[in-house]
């Protein structure tokens, strides 16, 4: 990636964040349109986005946000109350911004249909609002209309101009390499300059010949209307030039030696700041990092944002953006450190040394290693609040679309979750929430009233920790799921045969089978199941699972149970023959040594264990991996009962070793082909254990169930 591309990548990331925040803020503002602080916040986001978009040539986006910014600016400066339909226009504008951004990034010529329509509405609104303003100004001042508007927006216009120049300086700093100097040149030529033989273009041409990169900004604010305009009199009062050149300051100044002193100013811009910043990811985790960016400014794809600490001028708190790939690498290295530490701690030879100081050193090493591991883990964790905030928009839109009044309750939004998972959670959450409103809640207010409920449906978004996992749940207080109808539908569709003895949870789980139900077939389940299989797959990719709990007439809860992180797995270590395998603890239901009488062999279908009336197929790991071992009977070994996609299975092993958190390692090409294995881990003694992909351990349910 070239430096220019890197800078662009930073812009895209920043723009994405701004748009994401706009999406959330605009909904918050819609809820409380008197919050002008929030409006200012939105304005600032749009303002920055405009500068960035124009700096990178995304003119269509720049054009749109320019007008949107003007409207926002009007409201924030006048503090006029905002009409409801205009609030709707603001929300729609953010949607357009999102779509146009996609068009710009994917270089799509065709803009969304809503672009022109929305832009027109904004312009109309602006001209209406400006019209009102002019009347007031004219009453007190006889200055021309355009000058009134200019003065009304004057300060911000200058801000905008300066912001673009500043942005250009940053871009040039980022691409600056050794041997090149960066200058900002401010030209303010007098109005008789043309007659003296000078023109801005002349200086630009001369400079450009010696420049590596150059960008100039013409401030046209004082160009008059045609009645007073004279083309031979300069009315462009300011031009700022940002130039990257090998020339020295003296050489650059030489270009302007024939101008009056007040007509030019050359400023040397130092290479990007060498800053020592304090990274405060957590209050107790304070790391000093030197961001040395003068030679390779964008090397770490990191931006450091300083925040002055009002209470303590000596300490600077700031955040640093780090490529998640680098965090993963760091995490990997810490994983290696843990393994090495375990190796030392468990090494028989070292343990046999009876020396207290060595034991103490090993103990200290163990504590420090654990602390480092925890802290590195915490770097990947972010609060789920932002994701929940985004869901407010989903709820608002779905509520409007369905015409159902919805009250949202959010709990546990400070719960932290692995950043990688956060990114993948949005889509499943959106799907479940839409389902909950559209199909979970009663069809209309009358139905709710008949059921003795409030007119307003309730959707609860909740995040919490449970047994070493994170649970994110979406509950509605709607109709609940009718189990009988689910069962009959599943039989009709051939999802189950009808002979199974299914638990409530398994019955509800059926609605997540691909193509299980459609809206036109079951009225009180309409839509549930359509696309829920995709949700299920997405969550399983995160090594999580979905649990459904429902009570007819009272509501339904979808719970996504997720591991704390994707980099570590909580596993049960088991031994078969001489090999050690890891079973994800999240899937383990129970483990036991079966009595001989509950083990059955069905001809052509294999071995089964009868557990509380349910026949569970037994899978011998030694058979799956063709291990050479002395064949024992199931009642001589241990069965680990696990929940898989297709129901429960009992994995037969020789020995249970214990439960342990392990750092997941990817496998080499040859092992990666084995679908029964999802990864590997290095144990404390240096041995390698394979992590089982339990869903691949059994064939389809119809082929094995009795």
């Amino acid at each position: 990636m070239t430096k220019q591309e890197q800078v662009k990548a930073i812009f895209i990331e920043e723009a994405g964040e701004i748009i994401e925040k706009l999406d959330i803020d605009i909904i918050r503002f819609e809820e409380n349109s008197c919050d002008f602080n929030l409006l200012n916040e939105i304005f600032r986001g749009v303002h920055t986005l405009k500068g960035n978009a124009n700096a990178f040539g995304f003119t269509r986006l720049g054009e749109f946000v320019h007008h949107f910014e003007d409207v926002l600016d009007h409201y924030r400066s006048t503090q006029d109350s905002i009409e409801e339909h205009n609030l709707e226009l603001f929300v729609g504008s953010v949607d357009v911004i999102k779509e146009v951004m996609t068009c710009e990034l994917d270089v799509i010529d065709q803009l969304p249909e809503s672009y022109a329509e929305c832009l027109e509405k904004i312009k109309t609104l602006l001209s209406l609002k400006k019209g009102k303003g002019v009347v007031v100004v004219e009453a007190s001042d006889n200055a021309p209309l355009l000058n009134d508007l200019a003065s009304e927006f004057g300060l911000d216009c200058y801000d905008q101009y300066e912001s673009l120049v500043e942005k250009s300086i940053q871009v040039h700093q980022a691409i600056q390499t050794e041997g090149f100097n960066l200058y900002k040149i401010d030209l303010t030529l007098d109005n008789d300059c043309y007659k003296r033989g000078f023109d801005y273009t002349l200086f630009l041409k001369n400079l450009a010949e010696k420049a590596n990169s150059m960008e100039s900004f013409f401030n046209m604010q004082n160009v008059p209307t045609f009645d007073t305009f004279r083309s031979d009199e300069n009315s462009i009062t300011q031009v700022s030039v940002v130039v990257l050149t090998p020339l020295s300051l003296e050489d650059v100044e030489e270009f302007f030696e024939y101008l009056f002193d007040n007509e030019y100013r050359v400023t040397f811009i130092a290479p990007q700041v060498v800053a020592e910043v304090t990274v405060a990811a957590k209050a107790e985790v304070v790391t000093k990092a030197e961001v040395v960016a003068n030679t390779q400014p964008t090397k770490a794809v990191a931006t450091a944002v300083k925040e002055s600490d009002a209470s303590n001028g000596a300490t600077q708190k700031s955040t640093i953006r780090i490529d998640t790939f680098k965090l993963d690498e760091l995490f990997d290295s810490v994983g290696e450190l843990v393994i090495a530490q375990n190796f030392i701690a468990q090494n028989e030879k070292i343990r046999s040394i009876e020396d207290e100081s060595i034991n103490r050193a090993i103990e200290t090493l163990s504590k420090i290693t654990k602390r480092i591991q925890d802290r590195v883990m915490s770097l990947r964790m972010v609060a789920i609040k932002d994701t929940f905030d985004k869901m407010k928009r989903v709820i608002r839109d779905t509520s409007k679309k369905t015409g159902k009044e919805v009250q949202l309750i959010v709990q546990g939004e400070e719960t932290e979750i692995d950043k990688t998972m956060i990114d993948s959670l949005s889509d499943p959450l959106i799907h479940i929430i839409r389902n909950a409103i559209d199909h979970g809640l009663e069809a209309d207010a009358a139905e709710r009233v008949r059921a003795g409920k409030n007119v307003e449906g309730k959707i609860t978004l909740k995040a919490f920790h449970k047994s070493g996992s994170i649970v994110i749940s979406v509950s509605d207080d709607g109709r609940g799921i009718n189990k009988d109808k689910v069962l009959s539908k599943a039989i009709e569709r051939g999802v189950i045969s009808g002979d199974e003895n299914l638990t409530d949870s398994q019955i509800f789980g059926l609605i997540m089978q691909p193509g299980f139900s459609t809206a036109d077939t079951i009225s009180d389940l309409s839509g549930r199941g359509v696309g829920l299989d995709v949700v299920k797959t997405s969550i399983e990719k995160l090594r999580g699972k979905i649990e459904i709990d429902s009570k007819e007439g009272e509501g339904t809860t979808f719970s996504m149970v997720l591991p704390l992180t994707l980099a570590i797995i909580d596993g049960m270590l088991v031994r078969t023959s001489e090999e050690i395998y890891i079973i994800p603890t999240l899937s383990v239901v129970e483990s036991f040594r079966p009595e001989q009488e509950i083990v059955h062999i069905v001809k052509g279908k294999g071995e089964f264990v009868s557990l509380r009336g349910q026949y569970i197929p037994i899978i011998r790991l030694s058979d799956v991996f063709t291990l050479e071992t002395q064949r024992i009977e199931p009642w001589e070994g241990i069965l680990v009962c696990v929940e898989t996609d297709a129901g429960r299975i009992a994995i037969m092993v020789d020995e249970l070793i214990g439960r342990q958190q392990v750092v997941i390692k990817t496998l080499g090409k040859s092992l990666a082909k084995l679908k029964e294995i999802s990864g590997g881990a290095i144990l404390g003694n240096g041995d390698i254990a394979l992590i089982l992909n339990i869903d691949a351990l059994r064939p389809l349910i119809e082929a094995t169930h009795v």
């Binding site: 216009c157 150059m214 960008e215």
Partner: protein, 87 residues
Amino acid sequence: MEFNGDVLTVDMNMSMEEIKEFEEFIRPRIDYIETVEVEEEGVLKSSAFLAILVSLKRTKPELQIPFLDKKMLNSQVHGKIHWICHD
């Protein structure tokens, strides 16, 4: 400079003298012109060219000047030029 119906086409590489002629030409006709097209072949010779376009637009906001709306010119000779009109 070419005047076709209500569209006036001008060259970007006008000299100061040509810009003055342009000014004289358009001053009495500003009400009749709906669009000013700019031929971008050549080099921007004078910044007065940008100024006159901005002035025209300021005087008659409904006048279409697509070149001005681009707000930016990428020039081999002058580098990247932006104009900020604040309208």
